[in-house]
Amino acid sequence: MAILIDENTRVLVQGITGNVGSFQTGIMQDYGTNTVAGVTPGKGGTEIFGIPVYDLVEEAVRERQADAAISFVPAQFAKDAAMEVIGSGIPLLVLTTEGIPDQDVLTILRYAALKGTTVLGPDTPGLISIGKCKLGVHPHTMFMKGPVGIVSKSGSLSYEVGRLLTESGIGQSTVVGIGGGPIWGLSQESVLRMFEEDPETEAIVLLGEVGGRLEHDAAHFISHYMKKPVIALIVGRMAPEGVQMGHAGAIIEGEEGTAASKIAALKKAGAIIARSSLNIPELIKKLEV
């Protein structure tokens, strides 16, 4: 297995009959994702793209042995949907929904910790294990199979970097979006740990941005535990303090949230700093991985 998912992952889609849910399910299925079930309360017994739809997650787990879930459920109902996945014992939940109230996210993450469910997101594009499984909304034509792992807060930035790498003939193993915050389930640090142990990954690109202090935790992990090379790009050098730059978590509150302090911490930790996305392919080529 690569990290988190592979071709054997049995995927359940929550909100499969909605606009975004059904559109993205079609693309995931075309990519080869093993989509075994959908859940929309009240639509149980129907089918979409040949995928059986259930009223309840527990039914989907019992009858289709789903072991990963992706939620396209709107913010107002996202907490209940997430709690249902966690309560059903599914080990991985991708929470694409943007705008879930912070306290709902806290409750979700607390329950997930108690039950051992890994939560990616919220406000995440999800993840894609190149050539194996797509559990998210990544435009997959921008990626190709290879040895570089990508972990990013932003979806768009990971597409941008994936595209540049692919154009330079450098493939990727798994591309993980951890989400726009301000509260994160899986952190950059946790994904770095997985890449460090993943035999399919030889180098890692860390894409961060202003706001919060996850990148400082990542820097700490890099300096103490990582042997594989990490190339880091932090965007938002132009961001003023105290205003939101798109993502709910991209807001500088104090020195640690600035791009400058994150870049300094990562540099000190031994990461290779990219000034812009354009430099990343050449920096990787220099590593000779």
């Binding site: 107002q76 306290q103 806290l106 909304v137 979806g155 768009s156 597409y159 595209r163 941005e209 993502h247």
Partner: protein
Amino acid sequence: MRLLEFQAKRLLAEKGISVPKGVLITSPEDLEKVSFPTVLKAQVPVGGRGKAGAIKRVEQAQEALPVLDEMLASTVKGYPVQALMAEEPVEGCTELYVAYLIDKQVNIPLLMVSSVGGVDIEEVARRTPERIIKKYIDPAVGVQDYAIRSLAKTLEIKDVRAFAELILKICTIFQEKDATMIEINPLALTPSGLIALDAKILLDDKASYRHRKLFSQLKDEQKKLDRTAKTKAVELAEERQINYVPLGGNIGMIADGAGTGMLTLDMIHDAGGKPANFCEMGGMANAEIMQRTIEVVLADERLKVLVISLIGGLTRMDEMAEGIMQYLKDNDQSVPIVIRMCGTKADVGLPMLRGMGLDAYEDLATTVRTAVEQARNL
């Protein structure tokens, strides 16, 4: 959403937390309602008001008018003062500090207390962090009595029951109103009990659908008191609820993703250009949102060039191209527009744009370089 002091104190008082007797003042006539001595406090959404001269004590009625006039004409950290609170002074008290907020490193609410509250709390946090005591309140467990008893002992509060009640009330407000932070600093420990002398509350905008009445009341009040000078673009963006951040330069920027948006700005800067703004449409943007967003960003009259940075993940490039074309159909083009377009349906979108004679590229570097050159030559 950050509440003004009078709004925050109203939320506290509604739950039975003691606050000083006070009235809101927006004009000299309101002084009739004030008893002296009083403390006049500017209602602006920033910290450090005491040190910025935005809090003044007035002993007698006849001294009040000039102080009031001066304060109402002042600007505190960029915010023109439109209202003051006049509060009864609380004398001879010990000043404590209490805050309840989300610790985003562990994703658990955190209660922080200190016996050295007041204007220097940030200094305390930096120099003697051990004087700020922290207790995590696990949502799976809730606030337990022993935790409060332990805090009360450290703070040398004798009336443990009153302190426990206060803490429980803060936690309840936090939960019920979807707050992300409640800070009472200072919290006065007086012979007659605990009184919140100042309050800072942040509410979670993402939860506003659960508190529609409260949010609209708070917003209306703030709007009435907001005289901050705003550009046309900022006003239009607020009205249309578009994420727009002015940056002062002359190269406008619109992106369909936050990460590529920030990257585009950094690249404009590195190429020697001056970004005028950040603006992100979000992954759910369609042709109409594209058009309305261009209207917002081009409302900034200092613009020389507009960069539109699109990488279709969730957004569809045929729709984005349609939005740009619709804008140009309805408006005279005031500045050159340079577009980066790739991703979902770019094979349809790019020819549409080029057919209109627009500068459109698949890669970001060429887009940025072209825009910066154009801004320089204009």
